[in-house]
Amino acid sequence: MYSALQEVCDPAIVAIIAALFIGSAGIPGLFLRPGPGQMIATITTVLAALAGLPAALALLFAHSTSTFVLAWNLPFGSCELAIDPLSAFFLLPIFLVAAAGSLFSLGYWPAADHRATERGLTFFYGLLASSMAILVMARNGVFFLMVWEVMALSAYFLLVTEHEREDVRRAGIVYLIATHTGSAALYVYFSLLACQTGSFLLPAAGSLSALPTVALVIAMAAFAGFGAKAGIMPLHIWLPSAHANAPSHVSAMMSGVMLKMGLYGIFRTLTFFHDPPLLWGGFLTVAGITSALLGIAFAVAQRDLKRLLACSSIENIGIVTTGLGVALLGISSHNAPLAYLGMAGALLHIVNHSLFKPLLFLGSGVIIHASGTREMNLMGGLGKYMPRTALLFLVGTIAICGIPPLNGFVSEFLLYLGFFAQLQATSMTYLVLLAPLLALVGGLAAIAFTKLYSSVFLGTARSQGAAHPHEAPLTMLLPMGIFALLCLLIGLAPQLGQRLVAPALAAFMPEVALTVYPAEYGVILGRLFLLSMLLLLAAIMVTLFWRWRLRQADVATASTWGCGYQRATARMEYTATAFSELAVSVFNGIIRQRVERPALTGIFPAAARCADLPTETVLERIIVPLFNIAGLSFAFLRRLQHGQMHVYMLYIFVTLFILMLWAH
């Protein structure tokens, strides 16, 4: 079928054209009245994605690389665009999430209600998606950096959509500083690469040796630059506030896809080198598991719905990085099963995260629409009024916690298999210890998302705003439904996931892909398929039985979680913060949740307030003080900026003069 398709039209060209169409989708809207422009953009984006997705799938399974050369006049060598299976693999979430988010924005950010901001939002949204699609095709370092900047800046403009709010502007500034610090590292990275290879074209797979010191510097620069975009600890500082303050479909795009661009960079860099030393894998593993653990620990402490989701993104990126690190360890020590399982787990988790995280972020958009706040302590009881959203959101939360029969379980299962396989290995047996750590991460994720789901959807409303919400329109539910179905599909049929990652994995390490292990673990995943089916069947049976019992007996209604009291009020419910307090107290050394408790005196204490505020530890304890020190020690430089125009001219004049003297 693929060959027939290729005869009709080259999928690579279809993918590029789809990317360009998505990028220009917002342009008509700039010249039209707000309403139709958004509709045109959405229709264009959805159609382009419908063409782009099959094209990307065809490219993924084509086992070949399509190369194009862009004619440009810049002095940085030829500008190659190429789509190999690794690029095609990353194209899938880009097209999917772009279309879903665009559809969602019709209901979430309608032009009629947001006349001032809708145009810019639609335009930059398309630009962001398109730049990411072109990014994974770019094979020239300079072109890569250009597209990277377009991506970073359009994300900034999306993020500051509600720039009249102070906290949004602050989040924007933090993002801008973080992303440009990362870009600075990338400038070093591409310059060093160009020094190594003699041109700005990215090196071919396995063409560089990892032994010289410069290779280590290149790897460190790549980790700093791409890691800052991916949000690996401690480079994640921009992530929680940025994801929390952007419009929800933009958060979905940033978390579901943009973070993956950082991971793509790391993956791509690792393909350049043959025989990576053990150190690299070890470093990535440690960084990954730390991110996972701390990310989810921070997530547990959050009381802002979207911040919680953002912190859980750090956790998921951490899991992917752990998988990648373990795979590298496997490659370095010629341990094929470890390499296979680590890499398959990492790649599959990328797909999974780009399915369930957009689902949850879009769901958070619906919730914020309904309740008018992001504060979980003020919500409650939404499940009664919006059952469909609640169901879809539940699918997302189960998936993200890694509970079968959903997709999050499959990728983590592969990682667990890899860790436990080390029990029989001759070397590096200590990697088994990662299994309990990953289990701890899973457990904390379960706490965080139980807190999220129960405080938002269950119980009774804790504030007036959340009291009488309405179900979301179809344009908002449909994208969520698609994500939920895909989550369920990969969860129920894990072999599909395995086949999806196989080509990208083969591009990464051909020697491992040819071994018996893919088939062997395919059998195990097949058993998982049976188990998932059994679980689903059991769930359906229990539901039917419960319905049947419900019809048999008399049903009495009482207030939710009333606990038998006569006059229970919403104020008596456990709040989200109360639910997670115990778990947070375990990590108090890192999270430092500030709780302002009133001092109770006398027999009848007066009314008092209790408030809690989770700290951004890395940002507030390390980065901000460092910036303050830098600001103080470089204060003398500010004298250069004094507002005297003619002295500014003098600066230019003096520079010119020195240059002229220098020329002699």
Binding site: Q641, H642, G643, M645, V647, M649, I652, F653, M660
Partner: protein, 213 residues
């Protein structure tokens, strides 16, 4: 013809000194307009006749000799200032510095690795000297209008350098450069308007209050 061009360039240099040494803004503007007209004539002297050249000459004389001076005149009249009263650096020191820089630019130009056919003419030193004069005006004057004049002189210096390349320069590039100049003047005009409205004076030293604290 080349020697005549050299003599015109001497005139250009002299006009530099006029704009460096005068305190009357109207006079300064007229001097720069004259400089523009001379620059408009110059390409006709050094390159063989072509319609392309006629277009360039007409464009330059129209923009540099007429439109921009008219705009500046209007600005001077509407802002009701006649003189640059207190420059940062007095007129005599500015003139001396101008002379010094002109001498230096001749020295510098003789050391540049130029083509043989450009070696003996005054184009390169005159260009650098005019550029320097522009910079001097920009750095030593207080009034926004004087700064525009400095900018124009600077631009003239760059233009003289471009004359050497006029054969190789396509029309689009020149049109672009002229447009750039015109837009620059417009922007400065708007800036001048806003400065005088905000601070009720055209003194750019007042702009320090805009500095970020």
């Amino acid at each position: 013809m080349i020697t005549f061009a050299d003599q015109l360039l001497v005139l250009v240099l002299l006009i530099n000194f006029i704009s460096l040494g005068t305190s009357r803004l109207m006079f300064s503007i007229r001097a720069v307009a004259a400089q523009g007209v001379i620059l408009g004539v110059l390409p006709g002297l050094i390159h063989p006749f072509s319609w392309h050249l006629v277009g360039i000459t007409a464009g330059i004389i129209a923009i540099k000799g007429l439109i921009i001076p008219l705009l500046l005149n209007r600005a001077v009249r509407s802002a009701e200032i006649k003189r640059e009263v207190e420059p940062y650096l007095g007129y005599v020191p500015t003139l001396l510095l101008g002379a010094l820089f002109t001498a230096l630019s001749f020295g510098f130009a003789s050391k540049l690795p130029l083509l043989a056919e450009h070696q003996n003419y005054m184009f390169v030193p005159a260009s650098i000297a005019t550029l320097m004069a522009g910079f001097l005006i920009l750095t030593t004057r207080r009034k926004a209008i004087s700064q525009v004049i400095g900018y124009l002189v600077l631009e003239n210096g760059i233009f003289i350098f471009g004359l050497l390349l006029a054969d190789a320069m396509p029309l689009m590039v020149e049109a672009g450069a002229l447009l750039d100049l015109l837009v620059g003047t417009f922007v400065m005009g708007i800036v001048i308007n806003h400065i005088s409205r905000e601070f009720s004076s055209l003194d750019t030293s007042r702009l320090t209050s805009l500095k970020e604290e």
